[in-house]
């Protein structure tokens, strides 16, 4: 499944500079140093953290997209950084678990 195909399934785009990236698996976590070492390339990463370090970790781990769950928004200046660094960021109004279940149904 491609990142852009999530749109219209309860996921809203914040930045989508590379919507054609393939989603292969999902990683969930908020402790950034932990995520940095464990998220796999092409994972969709679900988190509630929304500071600039999230964009850096997504870049390092090479995840296909960041999904901000629980209705968390991305501050505008950080969205700008995400766009510059070509990081896809989407939001979900659902809690983390429900977001993951929704995602599981879509990518399986």
């Amino acid at each position: 499944m491609l990142v852009k195909e999530l749109l219209g399934h309860g996921f809203k785009p914040v930045t989508l500079p590379d919507g054609d990236r393939v989603i292969d698996g999902v990683y969930i976590g908020d402790l950034l140093s932990w995520v940095m070492g464990r998220a796999q390339m092409d994972n969709a990463w679900i988190t509630i953290m929304n500071n600039v370090n999230v964009i850096a970790v997504a870049s390092l781990a090479d995840t296909s997209c960041v999904i901000l769950a629980e209705g968390v928004e991305l501050p505008e200046d950080i969205a700008k950084t995400a766009e510059e660094k070509e990081i896809n960021v989407l939001t979900s109004s659902q809690p983390i678990y429900e977001t993951a279940v929704l995602l599981a149904g879509l990518i399986s």
Partner: protein, 192 residues
């Protein structure tokens, strides 16, 4: 990071890379607040670089695009309501007194405070990896003061390398003994 001690290790490594002959790791706990200072006499950083090191996309390493030591430390203190400040003097600005001073403050009673973890282990790791540079470690918790100065050890040991097995064993025991023989202050962070 799950423990601040790992973050301290990461930031202190920057000091060694900056050519520091002495790196000080100072922890002061008082009234529920923690002040962490990492002070070195390395080559220092220009104002522009000081501004950019908190940016996670900046790094002195060439192997990856981002350096996360300082950004994660900044996040860790800010999420408790504390703050991070960096001041630096470059070798060009002052050939005699130069270096970098990182200060992070934390509210230890905040729910998002990252536990300090095993700082002694971080200090040992630093000495083991860099036996030819000096470290001053000082951890003050109310009345309790735990201290280690490798310059003093070096004077006594003369030619014995600091990272030899026996010396490392001794340092580990020396730090442990200081923690164990001085009672922990029963303040707002006392065990209850």
């Amino acid at each position: 990071m799950k423990e601040l001690s790992l973050n301290i290790l990461d930031v202190a490594e920057n000091s060694v890379k900056a050519g520091a002959t002495l790196t000080q790791i100072l922890l002061t706990e008082q009234d529920g607040k923690l002040k962490l200072e990492i002070v070195d006499d390395g080559c220092g950083m220009s104002e522009d670089i000081v501004r950019s090191v908190t940016d996670p996309f900046y790094t002195t390493r060439t192997t990856r695009k981002v350096g996360m030591g300082i950004p994660l430390l900044k996040l860790a203190c800010e999420q408790t309501g504390g703050s991070l400040t960096i001041s630096s003097v470059t070798q060009e600005e002052n050939p005699v007194e130069h270096g970098t001073h990182v200060t992070a403050t934390f509210d230890m009673n905040h729910i998002d405070f990252t536990p300090l973890g095993d700082v002694s282990a971080s200090v040992l790791t630093l000495i083991q990896g860099h036996p030819d540079t000096d470290f001053l470690f000082r951890h003050q918790q109310g009345e309790r003061i735990v201290e280690l100065d490798t310059r003093q050890l070096r004077e006594v040991l003369e030619d014995v390398p600091l990272n030899s097995y026996d010396v490392m064993e001794w340092i580990g025991g020396y730090l442990r003994e200081q923690y164990e023989t001085q009672p922990e202050d029963s303040g707002p962070n006392g065990e209850d």
